[in-house]
Subunit: 304 residues, 2 copies
Amino acid sequence: MEKAPSSSVEIVEVGPRDGLQNIAEFIPTSVKQELISRLRLAGLRAIELTSLVSPRAVPQLADGRELLEHPHIQGLLADTSLRLPVLVPNIKGLDVALQRGVREVAVFVSATEGFSRVNTNCTRRQGVERAKEVVVRAQEFGISVRGYVSCIFSDPYDGPTEPSSVLSCVKELLAMGCHEISLGDTLGTGSPRDVRKLLTYLKDNGIPMSRLAGHFHDTHGNAVANVWEAYHCGLRVFDSSVNGLGGCPFAPGARGNVATEDLLYLFMKAGIDTGIDISKVVDTGAWVSGMLGDQLGCNSCSQP
Amino acid sequence: MEKAPSSSVEIVEVGPRDGLQNIAEFIPTSVKQELISRLRLAGLRAIELTSLVSPRAVPQLADGRELLEHPHIQGLLADTSLRLPVLVPNIKGLDVALQRGVREVAVFVSATEGFSRVNTNCTRRQGVERAKEVVVRAQEFGISVRGYVSCIFSDPYDGPTEPSSVLSCVKELLAMGCHEISLGDTLGTGSPRDVRKLLTYLKDNGIPMSRLAGHFHDTHGNAVANVWEAYHCGLRVFDSSVNGLGGCPFAPGARGNVATEDLLYLFMKAGIDTGIDISKVVDTGAWVSGMLGDQLGCNSCSQP
């Protein structure tokens, strides 16, 4: 029943967006740009650059436009072999991205009502409709869209998530034209058993594993185990964050994303190619850790 | 081929020994005693109390005798339903343990020459002989012996470990009468793929999985994934350390033990009983973290 192991996986580095967005003190655009450049030099071919959400909601990424206009970032955007998604909440954000040469955007919906209300000030249904507007317009411009489903296992306000809610979000995002759906364990409450249960359920309901990505946070130290379990269920795309940076401003208590370094180690030791130079990523992690210093919470300081 | 999942696993808490031994500043005996008492109250039924190695080699545990004589610890030792092993390097250590009512000791051998030389100042073969002396004498007194095999995947001085070396250590320890062999990834360089390869190799060579325990360090964030893989290979006993305390004075760069909290989370979410109250362990982790404060390296401060 399980997909045969393939010889490669794709790592989507989300550090510059998901990893930074929760840090209170503003990080200069030049540091963000250098982080992205270093990640690219380490071999990462898929890097989420920033988000174009309201500066009020996520002040840390208020420089999204400026970052995209930076000559180095423009240089990367010119390389059509790279995946450089930008998170956009609505048509306005999409248009800003389009004007700056972005070729992939990401939209997000919550599988749960509580997080949807607090994160995006709308119901789950309204969130799906909002995403659909973006996807439809993006397609008119030949822009590919990645869909995020948040809170796949639990919601900070509502408790455990119904798998059927995740399924319905995934179906809707695929139906509207997203090329890939990233399943987000926003709170990091999932365990390998949860991962297998959910992915088996989605598979049994007709969702091809090849269209899914796994996005795990390491709240309980289970994130690498979750990735490995998801790999065995057939997933081949995983989001991670250099140095385990991360958390979410609207999910109190949520810890960092799974560290890119840890995932690279997992796959390297299993003989599964990522095309990424782990030692350069470790160096980049040390560099960003030094640049951010005390702004990092304890969830980041421990990553190798 | 795989052992069917059972409904319970045994967690051997090694924080008071493996977790503390690498901390430079001396921790008062009263704190060690309270740590053990709190772990017991959290439901742990197997706790490695201390080691009786040379105070020169491990100054942090120089108070091993005193700790064992503490009334609270003597009270725990009187409960024959508990497993409270004490690490002993030789006959002298064994005698000290015997005199204080210890009913289980642990011996250790390295699967590799480099670590054996630096950790115990003897060859691997001499280490096995030394362990055998202890086991033979322990059995005369009806004392059960747990055997540790260090460096199952790699050695800080020699590089990767030959699986045949691990096999031969396990065979020798079983043959001399150890009731359980704890396989130690001392450097934390193992990945799930390594775990499966080694355990499959041991199984294929006649080692019953029921006699093995897994002892993983979290150097590359893969320890929980390693435990989960080992569980699927049939292991049902795992060593861990509250708050992820740990490291090894003779294995430079090695990081903390896998955190007890993370393992409990893994198993709890999988519906596998440990008999341990995770919230009390989390509280104990926070308490010990507060007690140790700055003495903890970064590898410990991040554990939930």
